[in-house]
Symmetry: C2
Subunit: 309 residues, 2 copies
Amino acid sequence: MSARIVQGAATAAAIRESLKPRIVAFRQQAGRQPSLRILLVGSDHASEVYVRNKVKSGSDEGLDVRLERLPETASLADVLAVVTRWNQDDRVDGILVQSPLPAGLGKQAMQQVFDAIDPRKDVDGFHPYNSGLLAQQRPALAPCTPSGVIELLDREGVRMAGARAVVIGRSEIVGRPMALLLIGRDATVTVCHSKTRDLPAVAREGDILVAAIGRAAFVTPDFVKPGAAVIDVGVNRVTDLGEARAIWGDGSPKLEQLSQKGSVLVGDVHPRVADVAGLLTPVPGGVGPLTIVMLLANTIKAAENRIQG
Amino acid sequence: MSARIVQGAATAAAIRESLKPRIVAFRQQAGRQPSLRILLVGSDHASEVYVRNKVKSGSDEGLDVRLERLPETASLADVLAVVTRWNQDDRVDGILVQSPLPAGLGKQAMQQVFDAIDPRKDVDGFHPYNSGLLAQQRPALAPCTPSGVIELLDREGVRMAGARAVVIGRSEIVGRPMALLLIGRDATVTVCHSKTRDLPAVAREGDILVAAIGRAAFVTPDFVKPGAAVIDVGVNRVTDLGEARAIWGDGSPKLEQLSQKGSVLVGDVHPRVADVAGLLTPVPGGVGPLTIVMLLANTIKAAENRIQG
């Protein structure tokens, strides 16, 4: 048996297509483009790449996306001042502060910033008010990655109602909202984490298995019910040749990639899971493209909500 | 095997004891009692009983609890006006609007009222902001019944960390917050509901099983892993003698109770589960007393938070 490998690009393109008429309608009604403001503090390399992709995708789609930068040395007050300005600007529909913030701002800074964003403009879906609407199964700006996973399962014909779904990981960005969204779709949902006993056996209960723990190739074939839909949300960077060889085996093109680029990406799911699963999303190229398109969808939703009062 | 039947009264008394010094400290600091305002609209019989218990328990504990009434014919605007007055009254720490509201106010009325309560005074924990804090595993005014269940499990020595916990029911008042609280205590949590396939088999995975579905004696012994801790959150009124006989069998004192009073209470858990479970909370007398004491605990927490700014 060999899993169907599902790239996110097709679903992302379909969602993008569905957004087009809504953007047109918004422009007609509001006389302007839906607008997204992104704040990048400092110059983390990965963040630069993410932000560039967000600006490009949004602009390509006809959104007004602007990036603002603050230096690595910015204070929390500086960051909050930008957020406040955008909260008050009636022409701003969506606000995104790229995480992580520089470590110097302290452990609580990211949460303080998320809490400060007007919930109506909170396109990341990280404000407690939006988390609460989601927990209450009410329409909300939901976090982009788990929303993208639901879209992908839908469009790939994976039945959620009545299915056993197992989510490995309980982060506030993926694990818990993922579980709440799956409950909303009538799945029977189990949340696992570092304290779960006999994790492989629990994971094997899942007709749908979502891995979001941030551990390279952690989910091996013994975690997977034959034929299950396995969604790999992890993005881990492998720099060690021995580790890469242990994951992909000798002769894999990934090893060459590693020696050329100095690192190579791997998800939370081991490549050999493809022999057991019925459906598998790869890393990179699986849920990644969906996260960005759901950010655009949230921006348009926020814009529509705001003009509808 | 016969389950240990655990009344909530002992845990409730212990919690009440732990609240006493906090009430004293608050009075010294604030120069007044922690205060709770309860609004009862109309005259639903069960609500009258609940409200009376809440007023009495709070007053006995040294809280300033006052009941305000609106007639069955009150409008939503009337209800919201009371809430707004209490939101603005600096001497009010906790606000509770007894549910259900009269049917004439419409299906959305209860949610509109909950949404209108200042989250800092939301001692029921039903405001989306508080739901969100709970979903994000941040300190929150959490719904009273699931909070009481956690207290009971703790004080009865039921280990949650690493245990499999199964919650039957996904309501916003019990099921979902219960699941989130159990995840916060490091249990591996599964949420089941009406769409779950082979519910007895899934329920049997639980070392801890919480029944919150509102169906009389629905959870039969085949749902229960031998030795599991079974928490019965349901409160169902049986008025039919045939149904009562099917549940308790001929010769049960419950049948006499039914013929005398016209009805008798039963939980979501069948009485014969006592033969399989390791621990079982009865109905009435199990989690009920905890719900009220957690309301008092939330009121004191809200009062403390408010004077600490």
